[in-house]
Every structure is written in structure tokens, then in C-alpha cells.
């Protein structure tokens, strides 16, 4: 961190925000492009010239111009506050993500714990939005969301704990640093997913759970536009709605980056020292995160949606038992080898 000490702290704190905003604009465009290609069409092609690259900017401009509608009989304060709380929670979690070997918002020793704790705030903001809207559909969406997020936190935490058992640290920077080098068979990187066969299972559980946590298809029940008409977002419009959208995409990125840190070596280059260093590290890290985000999009445009009871069944009777057994197996493996 020595090279960056001269830059004021305030600017450093803004770094993740810049990343999120640029990423969100890019991801929304990418989502449309991915959807387009999966569905045998082109997606946005006009705005900005080359493959409609400015589509997200156009959307943003449109959203800024929209009237800020607050329905009567809503709980005004909570209604206005919910989108910001949601984004704040997502944003705050980025503080402990090691973007590169040279930059990390806060190098605390309980990084993993902090992320899991702060993302729980998302549940509260969703319930806040759903309840304050004074709309039955929103309320149903919020109820679904609360149940879903609370349930899926358990397998997420179990999967993360499995990694912690192997890595031996809650500090995400330490976790990343211990994954550097290409020692397995001489060329495979020391990423955790390659270190322990049961961590592959843990990753699958982790990935399914983060799909549910970030409300992506096939677990997008809180929003399910064809049933609940966008659920807790129904009554929101303009920039407030855009905050939800931003928070949702930020959440996707956050969980994907967490996955990249925990399983895919964070900012480590897959080629050892080659293409290493802080700048390349950042690029590698974002690339890994974006690949996971892409898989999320790919799944979204392929699968139908689960039903609420099936969702709970999948969590409580499939993922949680497997994750517990897997946790024990990982611990045993670590003891033996």
C-alpha cells in the first residue's frame, strides 16, 4: 500500500464507487447483449454507434428525468430511505474487498464476517421498501424476499466457512495472498478451488446461494415480474428505482468478487508472476468477477423460475445438509493432508 499513501483517504474511499458505477453501466448493457445473443437477436444496436454501447447512459438520462412518484398513504420516510439503504449496504461491503495487491478499502481481520453481516441489511431494506409501499404485491414480494435471503444465508455461510477452514484467516487479503503461486503439478495456480476437491462442492453451493441472495433467476421470486409485478419495486419510479437496480447489480458484483477471492485466487494472475502486479491484479480480479456475473446472466436467460416452496425445499433439504456434510469432509481433509 505504500505507493498509494499520498492519495487522500477520501479519494480512496470513492474508488469502489467509481468501479461500481462503471461496472453497473457496463453490466446493464452486457445483460442486454447477453440476453440478445442467447435469444437469437442483436440487443441494443443504435445508441452511441458501436453495438449500442451508450444504451445504459441513455437509460440513466431517462431515469433522471422521470417524475419521482411517491404514492399517497405510503410510509414516506421508509419509502424514500429504502433504496438508499439498500445501495449503502451493498457499497459498504466493498470496503473489505481486496481489489488488487495495492488497494483494499479497509484491511480488517474479520473481512468475511463483515461482508456477511453488512449484506444482511439488504433484507431489511427490501422489507422496508415492500412494507412502506402500501401495496399488497410489494408486501408479498418483500415477504418472499425476507424468507429467501434469510434461508440462503445459511448455505452461503457454510460454504464460506469451508473456505475459511482451509485458508485459516478471515482477512480477505490474507486469503488472497495465500493463493498466489502455481505449485499444483507445477503449473496449476494455487487457487483454493484446486486445493481441495470438496471446495469444488462448496463453490457450487456458494454459487447457487449467491444467485438466490442477489435475486437472480431461477430464484428471482421477490421480483418475479410475471407474478408479483416486480414485487417490492412495484411502486418505485425514476431514480429511486434506479437505486434498487444499481444496488442489485452492485450486489451481484460483490458476491461474484467474493466468490473470486474465496475460490479463484482474487487478484492473483493465473500465470504466476507473469502479468502480475497491482494493475494487472485489478484487471484479473475484475475479469474473474465478470465471468461469474456472466454465468449469472447466462442462467437468467435460460431457466424458468422456482416456486416459493420449491425454493425453500432446495435450501433447507438439499443445500444445507450437503453444505454441512461438505464442511465436515473439508475439515477432515485438512486434518489428514
Amino acid at each position: 500500500m505504500t505507493s498509494l499513501e499520498t492519495i487522500p483517504v477520501a479519494l480512496l474511499a470513492l474508488f469502489p464507487l467509481t468501479v461500481i458505477l462503471i461496472y453497473a453501466l457496463f453490466a446493464i448493457w452486457m445483460e442486454r447483449k447477453v440476453a440478445g445473443f442467447i435469444q437469437d437477436r442483436l440487443g441494443p444496436m443504435r445508441v452511441g454507434g458501436w453495438h449500442g454501447w451508450a444504451q445504459s447512459f441513455a437509460d440513466l438520462l431517462k431515469l433522471i428525468q422521470k417524475e419521482d412518484i411517491i404514492p399517497t398513504d405510503t410510509s414516506k420516510f421508509l419509502f424514500k430511505f429504502a433504496p438508499f439503504l439498500m445501495f449503502a449496504a451493498s457499497y459498504a461491503a466493498f470496503a473489505v474487498i481486496p481489489f488488487s495487491s495495492a488497494y483494499m478499502g479497509s484491511n480488517i481481520d474479520i473481512g468475511v464476517f463483515y461482508i456477511l453481516a453488512i449484506t444482511s441489511l439488504l433484507t431489511i431494506s427490501v422489507i422496508m421498501a415492500g412494507w412502506a409501499s402500501n401495496n399488497k404485491w410489494s408486501l408479498l414480494g418483500a415477504m418472499r424476499s425476507a424468507a429467501q435471503m434469510v434461508s440462503y444465508e445459511v448455505p452461503t455461510i457454510m460454504a464460506v466457512l469451508s473456505v475459511i477452514v482451509v485458508a485459516g484467516s478471515l482477512n480477505l487479503m490474507t486469503v488472497t495472498e495465500m493463493q498466489s503461486g502455481n505449485d499444483i503439478l507445477g503449473f496449476i495456480p494455487n487457487w483454493l478451488i484446486f486445493q481441495n476437491p470438496f471446495l469444488l462442492v462448496a463453490f457450487v453451493i456458494f454459487f447457487i446461494s449467491i444467485l438466490a441472495e442477489s435475486h437472480r433467476v431461477p430464484f428471482d421470486l421477490p421480483e418475479s415480474e410475471s407474478e408479483l409485478v416486480a414485487g417490492f419495486q412495484t411502486e418505485y419510479s425514476g431514480m429511486r428505482w434506479a437505486m434498487f437496480m444499481l444496488a442489485e447489480y452492485a450486489d451481484m458484483l460483490l458476491l461474484s468478487l467474493l466468490g473470486a477471492v474465496l475460490f479463484f485466487g482474487g487478484w492473483n494472475s493465473p500465470f504466476g508472476e507473469f502479468m502480475g502486479g497491482p494493475v494487472w491484479g485489478f484487471i484479473w480480479f475484475m475479469l474473474k468477477g465478470m465471468i461469474l456475473v456472466f454465468v449469472m446472466m447466462w442462467i437468467r436467460w435460460t431457466l424458468p423460475r422456482y416456486r416459493v416452496d420449491q425454493l425453500m425445499h432446495l435450501c433447507w433439504s438439499v443445500l444445507i445438509p450437503i453444505s454441512f456434510v461438505n464442511f465436515v469432509l473439508i475439515a477432515l481433509w485438512e486434518m489428514l493432508f
Binding site: 440476453a35 442467447i38 435469444q39 437469437d40 437477436r41 398513504d73 402500501n134 399488497k136 404485491w137 408486501l139 408479498l140 418472499r144 433467476v217 431461477p218 428471482d220 421470486l221 418475479s224 415480474e225 410475471s226 407474478e227 408479483l228 409485478v229 436467460w301 435460460t302 431457466l303 424458468p304 423460475r305 422456482y306 416456486r307 416459493v308 416452496d309 420449491q310
Partner: protein, 379 residues
């Protein structure tokens, strides 16, 4: 704020209003749903938001032939079948014989329209369950059918093509080639749809054992079309009460078998539509082969049809089921009474009976599997 109804010691219930503006009610259907948590305890459909009183219009038109465009607008996704039904009813009433070529063109058009309509039905059904991509895949295919229709009739949605005694105009010279080409390219797409949607395990989970409609109930409610056949009843008017020239063709009636769940569930109703598209392809191929190349498509029907007193109830198999026209004629040139018995209206009335005890998400699946068109429900 949000009211909760509590009756006596029963569990608290919430009355929620689904529609008329709701993405999954396929138009302007309003359902008054009573919920216990997410469990549906009661559904009360309210219809009529699209009511235009088609029957009154038909009485006020000054000619029988002017009713045809109005029939188009009942079920706007299968307009040809509506016209076909009306033309057949009038021809039965007036005992008009239609040339062979016309019958062939009508059958080909009707079957193409059936495929187009079923494509829309299965596509939107997937959409209701959150599968967005199949919807766009099937629309690509539907587009090809609409192109054929556009070439033939000049319109893409409401054709006004089949008229009493014949057709508005002859088909264009490429018709046979285009249609044959479409059928050839369409067959593999059905397999693709089966892989992508029908046998997707999440899709099966969402639709199997949901909204079970037993055979007895289906008959008592006079359900028809894929809804009835999904319950395992082999009943298709093209076979059981043949009209036009359907008795000349060799095709099967697909019925639900309870393959992945219980007989008569949403998946069965869905799969019947998919198989029916294959059967329609068979019919089109046979009809293309036996279709005479030359011939007049306009029968000698006077411009202004005058009738004697009479009554007819004529029914045809539209993509959604039994489409009946009950026409009472008198001495004048317009119907004394024209009643359209539309399949969606009848099929929808079964909804409260089969949705009790299902979840909110199931209700969406059930509506999708019944495949209603509100223009036809409300007329």
C-alpha cells in the same frame, strides 16, 4: 394500511386484486384472489373489460358478410379459425358447396394459424413461469407464419380472408413453396422447444401436479380444445364431428397422459399443444399434396346475402377449443341473432374450481395453461 380479513377463528386472509393490468392475466382479466399467506383460498374472476358486444354489432350490420371482420377481432391471435368457423356456419345454413381448392387453402391456413396460436400459447406460458428465452424463439417461428399470411391476405393479424362461400382472393404463386418450406424448417424447432422448455426440470416442477382438472369436471364445465384433451379426453371436432375436409386427412389427436405428474395438470395441457403443432404439420403436408392447382376461389354468392328463417349451431375446432356460432336468420340480409360460443369464455370458467389450494405462482401457471384470449372471453 393493508387490510386483512379475519372471519371468526379462521386464519387471517388477504384479498388481492390481480389485474386488470397484470402481466400474467393475458389481457384485461381481473381476478379477486383471497390469499392465506401465499395459498389461494378463493378466486373470483371478473371479466368484461374488453366487452364490445360483438353480437349486437352482428345484428346491426347490414350484411352477413360484414360480420367476418368482427369475428377476427374476437380471438385476435387465431383470426383465420374464427373466420373459418363463421364461413362454415353460414355455408351450412345456406347449403353452399365450396370448391375443393378453397377447402384446401382454408384448411392449410387454419392449421398454420393453429400452429401460430399454439406457439404464442406455449411461449407466453413459459414467460409466465419466468422462462423468457423460449418466448422469443417461438416468436421467430410465428413470424414466418405471419409472413405467409401477409403474402396471402395482405394482413398480419386480422385477415378478413375467408369469406362466406370462398376466399377474398387467391393465394400467391409462392404459397405452396413457402408453406412447405416452413413446415420443413419448423419440425426441428419443436424438438428444440422440447429440450429447452418441456423437459426442463424446473419447468416440470412448476407445472406437474399443478391445477389438476379431472376428466369429469372438464366435461361438466364443457371445456374443450387442449384443456379438455389435457385431461385425457380424446375429443377433437376435426375428428369427432368433422367439418370442411378434415375427414380426408390422417392425423392423431394428442391427449394428456400424466407423463410427468397427474393426468390433467398444467404440463399435460401444455404438452398437448406442442404435440398438436406436429399434427398440424402433418395435415398441412397432406393438404399441400392434394391441393388442386387451378380453380376459382370465389363461389357464386350474391354480394348481399338474403336468407329465409332458419337456425344453425355450427362448431369448429379453434386452437383454444370448440368455437360455436349459433345463427338465427330471418327474411332480411342480417342475422336476427348471432351468438358466438367462444372456447376461452367456457374454459376460463373452470379456473375457480381448479385453482383452490394452489399457490399464488401456481395460479399464474394455471391461467397460462388454460390459454385464454380476453378478446374472445369478453367478445
Amino acid at each position: 394500511m393493508i387490510e386483512v380479513v379475519r372471519k371468526g377463528n379462521s386464519r387471517p386472509e388477504m384479498v388481492i386484486n390481480m389485474g386488470p393490468q397484470h402481466p400474467s392475466t393475458h389481457g384485461v382479466l381481473r381476478l379477486e384472489v383471497t390469499l392465506d399467506g401465499e395459498l389461494v383460498t378463493h378466486v373470483r374472476p371478473h371479466i368484461g373489460y374488453l366487452h364490445r358486444c360483438f353480437e349486437k354489432y352482428a345484428e346491426k350490420m347490414d350484411d352477413y358478410s360484414k360480420v367476418t371482420p368482427y369475428t377476427d377481432r374476437m380471438d385476435y391471435v387465431s383470426a383465420i379459425n374464427q373466420e373459418h368457423g363463421y364461413a362454415i356456419a353460414m355455408e351450412k345454413l345456406l347449403s353452399i358447396e365450396v370448391p375443393d381448392r378453397v377447402e384446401h387453402i382454408r384448411v392449410i391456413m387454419a392449421e398454420l394459424q393453429r400452429i401460430a396460436s399454439h406457439l404464442l400459447a406455449v411461449g407466453t406460458f413459459g414467460l409466465d413461469l419466468g422462462a423468457f428465452t423460449p418466448f422469443l424463439y417461438v416468436f421467430t417461428e410465428r413470424e414466418k407464419i405471419l409472413d405467409i399470411f401477409e403474402k396471402t391476405s395482405g394482413a398480419r393479424l386480422l385477415y378478413n380472408y375467408i369469406c362466406v362461400g370462398g376466399l377474398m382472393r387467391d393465394v400467391d404463386e409462392d404459397f405452396k413453396k413457402d408453406t412447405a418450406e416452413f413446415v420443413r424448417t419448423f419440425r426441428p424447432k419443436i424438438t428444440e422447444l422440447q429440450d429447452l422448455l418441456s423437459y426442463n426440470s424446473i419447468f416440470i416442477k412448476r407445472t406437474a401436479n399443478v391445477g389438476i382438472l379431472p376428466e369429469k369436471v372438464a366435461l361438466n364445465f364443457a371445456s374443450s380444445g387442449p384443456v379438455l384433451r389435457g385431461s385425457g379426453v380424446k375429443w377433437d371436432l376435426r375428428k369427432n364431428d368433422p367439418y370442411s375436409i378434415y375427414d380426408r386427412f390422417d392425423f392423431d389427436i394428442p391427449v394428456g397422459k400424466g407423463e410427468v405428474g397427474t393426468l390433467g395438470d398444467c404440463w399435460d395441457r401444455y404438452i398437448v399443444r406442442v404435440h398438436e403443432m406436429e399434427e398440424s404439420c402433418k395435415i398441412i403436408e397432406q393438404a399441400l399434396e392434394s391441393m388442386p392447382d387451378e380453380g376459382d376461389v370465389q363461389q357464386n354468392v350474391p354480394k348481399k346475402i338474403r336468407t329465409k328463417p332458419g337456425e344453425i349451431y355450427s362448431r369448429t375446432e379453434s386452437p383454444r377449443g370448440e368455437l360455436g356460432y349459433y345463427i338465427i336468420s330471418d327474411q332480411s340480409s342480417k342475422p336476427f341473432r348471432l351468438k358466438a360460443r367462444t372456447p376461452s369464455f367456457v374454459n376460463l370458467s373452470v379456473l375457480p374450481a381448479i385453482s383452490r389450494g394452489s399457490l399464488m405462482s401456481d395460479l399464474v401457471a394455471i391461467i397460462g395453461s388454460i390459454d385464454i384470449v380476453l378478446g374472445e372471453v369478453d367478445r
